[in-house]
Symmetry: D2
Subunit: 349 residues, 4 copies
């Protein structure tokens, strides 16, 4: 609503990618049955299974990330079981206690650059050994992480190993999975991820859809009863076909990855601007989030022309801001912002 | 997709009303902030407050009926408090134990034609008087009811009185509120309802929107903390503006009621066909659901050209079916179905 | 506190049987480890396993009936799963929504004389077939029932069969198990019960202990993690040995059954008094609860010398009262009450 | 069961103080009504109100600490509200996720020597300001703390102030309240505590009773419906009078404090032994828990004659052990242990 400012506030500030809207329009007056049992949903599920290389996986369309997290995690754990995650894990810090609302404790563990470490997981498990404490049952990670970093394939394999050793399920929050998988730093494919995780989801909300996350349950032991869980958790849409139509649009020609690649490229422009101006990164990232460190005066100046989020106050009086790009970011806006950052960097030095 | 059959299966079998889609398209590339704090959502909330004649009410956009029911009811009750409803109340029979999942018992009470009676409510309260049983705290009703009937203004006032006498909140599930308020049998306005209920919602999913229910919290004591509850319950959408845009489309020129009126008129055509053919009603209704009694052979014959739901088996070997109309039902389809019913009625006699 | 009235109010109106108190005194100053891992608890568990003929069963000492019910049932069910029980089942009517508080719906089913019927169970299962409704997972029955009746061995076998056919666990609330097993009408042993149930408990509170129910988990699939569940549910006592000592006292010479037999014999005296006077039974029973029908004037007269509970108002103006006997009831009190009832019966005719 | 070892393992290793057992024996065969509505319970509640100087307080007898914590805290908070506590707070670390099981997140905050700091509380509140995070609602502290330290009156007042400023309730876990209030370091009376807390409990299990904690709800806004909560939470005992009789025994002549004073004096003997031998304290304490630092060899040697708990491994290869005294500790055992410690201290230097 402030049309004059270029938008770097987040990756869910618009509606859907025009292709998605076009498909919704095309199918709008068709009659289908409800609750995700329609032909569009079934085809989208089939397509996603193929892309994941997991023919036997179950795919469910969820309305949003928090809903996906709490319905899945509470389906997979017994009442006294707990989820391990990074201190800044979304379930731990930004879901208003939703998982605790389902009855489960969250155990924060050591993380570096937003990424959980195998030693951290082991330490938490070692500290939870008798019946007076919760029993760790599931490792929750985000790919990309909440701070824009990406697990490498070897890092993910190491977590899979520690999960196997400790009797943990591996769950991957993929709200920004597209951006992670196509990032320069990433040596992992969707198939790799699907082969290593017990369950994960492919985020639609932050990559071109109106809403929706495609939850992929790879581990057969976790599949039974999940549609009951969705309804029980208030997450089943009457017009379930919407997600079907939208995910079909995103995956039938792999536009999903193209959109994410665009977002990352726009972020690359910002990173290049920062680097050439010598602006420090609060957190180095490879995805569609960029965290420059600015002086307060620079933050204010930048805010006149660009919409973004204040992220953190630094001890030296400066601050970090968060810039987010998306499928909708224009190269013009990105370049304009990169130039502004470069100039500010030159001021700083 | 069986395109050749006319669709009377339910009122959520299509996407959204074309006007709603048009508004979504028009605003699609605009940037807004998330989580329902954007200008569209704020304007939609203001408009709904006006239409309800309740300037101080809080309006929240919910993603669906079950989600609205469980988040609201669990916000309003303490752990040992229970909701009273009709035996066939949606929370009791078709939400996979979602409200119990939030920790609350449901107490079924006497109902006639799907409508809770004041005596029924009183009897339940009288039977729950000490600390060894749950404490009734809220009366849940649906307008229209699950079987298509409508509370009159005097019936609603009588329930309000019994709620006041028994210390109960009055909550109205309005998944089909449009159809109820414009039905021939209804002598109640939206303002009347808003003046009598502590909280209710205006259903969008079943009357022209892609999804969404506008929850109106009239009672100020129930308003604090509700956005926390929505997030905690997994019901807060990143792109909250979608509901804002859609409800604005529905209410700025009161199309919401026009769409519902159309649905009822299509149902009237069916009812007239039945009556002129002498087909019995399993349940008399005034809204967009119609329940004819057919022989099994007739049901099968009808199913060749029309999509509908089998509803109940009768002791005499016949059955009831459910026909649902909506904003999307065409007069041609309705007349064709009415004619078929009329003919079948003539066969029966 | 009204010492002049003979006590027939309930079977938990005193402390513990003197033998139990003696054992608590004898062991009082011994040091043991906590939380039910002491030698007394282990021996009591072993003894109960033997008496049940189930060497591999797990036995846990619970603090009370409601606590045992909700911890066990929530350990055994997934969030969308429900328990079936008689309409008057304790979990449904007298636990203040405790099981719903753990997230589970209760599905009442047809019962005769307080006893669930196989057809009733089948009907409930048949009505809960898709993901829009809860999934029945467990049949909860009480032996003796809440109204003092007793399942026969063939009745229990029939329920076991329907449970197997419908995929249900069979759980037996044994708050009054002693009285049931030694009742004249009962053709079932503790071993029979243990062979048929997936889980049940042996009630101590109502048969001679200060408190405590010995939960026997026969089905190995239900055993893992249960001590976690007890702690998680707030049901683990620091001085867990108390239950160990008390159940040892009750079972090492089978006094448990002797105490229950005494209670039943005292009830027999009341039943004989009623029969010889011609007083009608509100509900025929074989255990330690007796339900005479009296006039209001008779109820008042009786209440001057005896403590008991008013049970139900009858349409004809009369009422039913509840008389409960226990290990602590004296033959003198029982005979005095039987005489009074006999006399009242003669008045009625 | 290892009778030759002197017992310093914990303060719940025996039954009850002989005076308590005597009262249970004396009243054992009396008939009373159930569920804590008997005359003993009422008198105990009245007596506790008096001792607290809070005539209007509500007093409820709870079966144990975890049960008291989760029933009270879930009664006082809405679903999205959270409790703040020390990282080592009992609810956070030793209750198997019981409070999360009731749906509430726990927010650890800065603590020094086990004691929550006002700045820590403020910082947590400042970090939880919008609807995407839980809302802090209650500060949970333990007096004495889990590591044996004691809040001074001024420290408690400072926490009360920060609670008032931040809209928090103040809840005090008093599992070891007796030991705290009579400790040398403590300048606070029971009345002081009662005047500052919204709710707290007086622990019986760890100070002479078989079990039981007397929960005192001072804040009138928190009182309604609490008996419903107890039953709902599985914490209501049929023979509620047991707690009444036991708390009467403990408080009618203030033996409760005498027992705690004895426990502290026994701990003083241990502390003196350590100090005179120069043994370091892992944590300085003023109550009935003592934490010496020993070499591994010393720990092993000590374990041959004394029962205690290994507490922590230190980086330098040594370890901390935990010694706990109680009403049941004999001066002989304490002196023998003190001598052993003194000697070990001399070895160390």
């Amino acid at each position: 609503m402030e049309p004059t400012k270029a938008f770097f506030m987040n990756d869910y500030g618009e509606g859907a990618h025009p292709l998605v809207m076009q498909r919704l329009m095309q199918t709008n007056m068709e009659h289908t049955c409800g609750y995700g049992l329609d032909a569009y949903s079934l085809r989208a599920q089939e397509l996603i299974r193929e892309r994941c290389g997991q023919k036997q996986a179950h795919v469910h369309m969820m309305t949003g990330g928090t809903s996906a997290n709490i319905i899945a995690l509470s389906a997979f754990m017994r009442p006294f079981e707990a989820a391990i995650c990074a201190p800044g894990g979304h379930i731990n810090t930004h879901e208003t206690g939703a998982l605790e609302g389902m009855g489960h404790k969250i155990l924060p563990c050591e993380a570096r650059e937003g990424k959980v470490t195998p030693e951290g997981v082991r330490a938490v498990c070692a500290a939870h050994a008798d019946e007076h404490v919760v029993k760790p049952r599931l490792l929750y990670i985000s790919q990309a992480t909440e701070v824009g970093t990406v697990y490498s394939l070897s890092e993910l394999k190491a977590l899979r190993e520690v999960c196997d050793a400790c009797g943990l399920l591996l769950f991957v929050d993929g709200a920004r999975l597209g951006s992670a998988l196509v990032s320069r730093g990433c040596d992992m494919t969707l198939r790799d991820l699907a082969a290593l995780a017990d369950c994960f989801y492919i985020g639609g909300t932050k990559n071109g859809l109106l809403f929706g996350e495609a939850l992929v349950i790879v581990n057969p032991a976790l599949q039974p009863g999940f549609r009951h869980m969705i309804k029980h958790g208030g997450g089943m849409m009457a017009k379930g076909r919407l997600c079907g139509v939208m995910f079909l649009a995103a995956f039938e020609h792999d536009d999903y990855f193209a959109w994410a690649r665009h977002a990352n490229e726009m972020a690359d422009i910002l990173r290049e601007g920062m680097e050439s101006g010598g602006i420090a990164f609060y957190q180095k990232t490879q995805t569609n989030q960029v965290f420059p460190i600015l002086t307060r005066a620079q933050e204010e100046a930048l805010a006149r022309a660009f919409a973004f989020e204040h992220w953190a106050d630094l001890p030296d009086g400066r601050c970090a801001i968060r810039l987010v790009t998306s499928w909708a970011t224009t190269p013009e806006d990105a370049r304009r912002l990169a130039d502004a950052l470069k100039e500010m960097g030159n001021e700083q030095t």
